[in-house]
């Protein structure tokens, strides 16, 4: 319990330093804000443009597709906001030896990595996700009762954990490969498939995004539970099982990786 409190305090301290750093260059910060709003507006416009052309897809209506798309943005945004620094491990921290500094401090290493950076760009994803979910509520295509509301948050958390696990697993390969950025990039882009019902894909792809890199469990499968006449609540439980299994694998591989970490010469 004490350790937990200590880490929460440390997180505040480290996150605060991150914001101070960001605020030091106000121009950069404002440009960043402008950039991500612009990207998201374009994203929404594109979405409507595409869905305008497809009235329905394999029995899914446009409104349902928009809900799945929006729902998928939320766990993605949460993970993006909190753990973006994992990318740096994959691309360069292991390669150039900067990973050393995590090894020298008396804190959990994974904690140090994620506490070092927050990614404000993710607010765009969260915003779009929230808007599209609210829109779906207004359309009345989503079941709303106490159980569904609670499970919504439970599912979003599991989804974010799946994202984090996949990122951590591929980033950890850097300990053996020196840099694993390209692999992580490919794996992460698979999540784009999960924004749509998996039934529209070929069997191979469906298998891949359900069981190997389980992005289907982040978005489409739980989203179908919230849609009226959708799947049962069991899918959320299964999402958590997947999340925990993948987290354990990723964290184990990450810790094995630390043992073979070779640092870099001066």
């Amino acid at each position: 319990m004490n350790a937990c409190k200590r880490y929460m305090r440390l997180y505040r301290v480290l996150a605060a330093q991150f914001f101070k750093t960001v605020m030091q260059s106000k121009v950069d910060f404002l440009m960043g804000l402008f950039g991500f709003f612009f990207t998201q507006i374009m994203g929404i416009a594109f979405l409507y443009l595409v869905f305008d052309q497809i009235p329905s897809l394999q029995g899914w209506t446009l409104d349902q597709l928009i809900f799945i798309y929006g729902f998928a943005q939320i766990p993605r945004g949460i993970d993006h906001l909190l753990t973006d620094n994992i990318w740096l491990v994959a691309w360069r921290l292991v390669l150039n030896g900067d990973f050393d500094r995590y090894m020298l401090r008396p804190m959990n290493i994974f904690f140090q990595i994620i506490a070092e950076k927050l990614q404000p760009d993710a607010l765009g994803e969260l915003l779009v996700g929230a808007i599209l979910v609210v829109r779906s509520l207004a359309k009345g295509i989503v079941t709303v009762d106490a159980a569904h509301v609670v499970l919504f948050f439970v599912s979003v958390m599991a989804g974010a954990l799946i994202y984090t696990s996949i990122k951590l697993f591929f980033a950890a390969l850097a300990f053996w490969l020196k840099t694993s950025g390209p692999f992580l990039q490919v794996a992460y882009q698979m999540s784009d498939f999960a924004k749509y019902p998996t039934e529209i894909y070929a069997k191979g792809v469906r298998f891949l995004i359900t069981w190997v890199i389980p992005f289907a469990f982040v978005a489409y499968l739980p989203a179908s539970f919230f849609l009226k006449s959708g799947a049962g609540a069991g899918v959320i439980g299964f999402e958590w099982v997947i999340a925990i299994v993948f987290w354990c694998i990723a964290y184990y591989v990450f810790n094995r990786g630390i043992r073979v970490y070779e640092s870099a010469g001066n």
Binding site: R6, L10, Q17, P106, N266
Partner: protein, 339 residues
């Protein structure tokens, strides 16, 4: 305080072949190259010692330090720092040590220096009163107050090094590792840093292990030195002992008038010693004739009179071997007997 037992570290990398063809071949071959960076090293260091850990580039100094700090896992052997195995108990070990890598900063690059200290206070759980007392002390020896409000990235190298040293000491570590702490610094700053290290060692009994290429660091700070070469320990002992064992050479340079007469000179035979007892060298541009000899077996006047018998001498210089010379010789030799 530190026990290192038969520690070794191998780096395994895939075998590389030259050229584009080679790159493709390397992709499909499974051959590995094993490089032993540290080879079966043992030593132990007592509390409060300042130990110079020296060796040429790539000798394995940094690798050893990284194993002691818990960054690298040894391939073989064990290491204990203040009773803790840094690999099995990294976090506990991290509380006991302070580290300064000369070419890398641990500070928050974009924040004012003072902020870094506040963050470190939280990370290491330093109580408020200890914090202010220690900051006062660090300010005193490192003069941090001049630039405490400036972002770290705007500091000069000397200031940054002082700041890094301060940051490594904030939690009063039992062991301080310094990897080339004076690299690239001017003489005044070097002096300051050395004085600070000494004061800290005296006040807190901090054990200090320092790698360096600067002989000045060693002469001023270290009572004991450990030399490694190609991953092997080749000397572990006091500085005085090293000088005694290896500093027995003397060198005389003479500017002479009749260089052609040197042929008549056979110093080795005259003194009845082998090449290790006496060697000569002639530099044509300056007409200098240099004789390097064992000072325990041959006296300076003997050399002078022998040379003056064959040629006139215009000028004479006598040099004791310096530590730098000794170290250079040991690096070249590869092994030393004074273990």
């Amino acid at each position: 305080m530190i026990e290192v037992k038969n520690i070794s570290k191998d780096f395994v990398s895939p075998k590389k072949y030259p050229g584009l063809k080679g790159a493709v071949k390397g992709l499909f071959s499974n051959e590995k190259v094993v490089k032993t960076a540290v080879d079966d090293i043992s030593f132990s260091i007592r509390k409060g010692e300042i130990v110079g850990y020296i060796g040429s580039n790539g000798a394995g100094k940094s690798t050893t330090i990284k194993m002691m700090t818990g960054i690298l896992t040894p391939t073989k052997g064990t290491c204990r720092v203040a009773g803790i195995n840094p690999n099995q108990n990294r976090k506990e070990n991290a509380k006991n040590i302070g580290v300064v890598f000369g070419q890398r900063t641990q500070l928050w690059w974009d924040l004012p220096l003072g902020e870094s200290f506040t963050i470190l206070k939280e990370i290491y759980d330093v109580p408020a009163e200890d914090f202010s007392a220690r900051m006062d002390f660090l300010n005193d020896v490192l003069e941090l107050q001049d630039f405490i409000d400036r972002p770290v990235r705007t500091l000069s190298l000397g200031q940054r090094m002082r700041a890094d040293l301060g940051a490594a000491l904030l939690h009063n570590p039992k062991v301080l590792y310094l990897d080339e702490p004076t690299i690239g610094l001017d003489l005044v700053v070097k002096d300051n840093i050395r004085r600070a290290i000494k004061q800290i060692n005296e006040k807190y009994q901090t054990t200090v292990i320092l790698t360096t290429h600067d002989i000045g660091d060693i002469e001023e700070l270290c009572s004991r030195i450990i030399i490694i070469d190609e991953g092997k320990l080749i000397y572990d002992g006091s500085l005085a002992n090293l000088k005694d064992t290896y500093g027995n050479k003397r060198k005389i340079s003479m500017e002479i008038r009749q260089p052609w007469k040197l042929k008549e000179l056979h110093l080795e035979e005259t003194f009845g010693v082998g090449e290790d007892g006496c060697s000569t060298e002639f530099i044509e541009e300056t007409n200098s004739f240099c004789v390097t000899f064992d000072k325990h077996r041959i006296q300076v006047p003997q050399v002078l009179s022998a040379v003056m018998e064959v040629t006139e001498v215009k000028d004479v210089q006598i040099q004791e071997t310096e530590l730098a010379q000794i170290v250079k010789e040991i690096y070249n030799h590869g092994t030393a007997e004074g273990r």
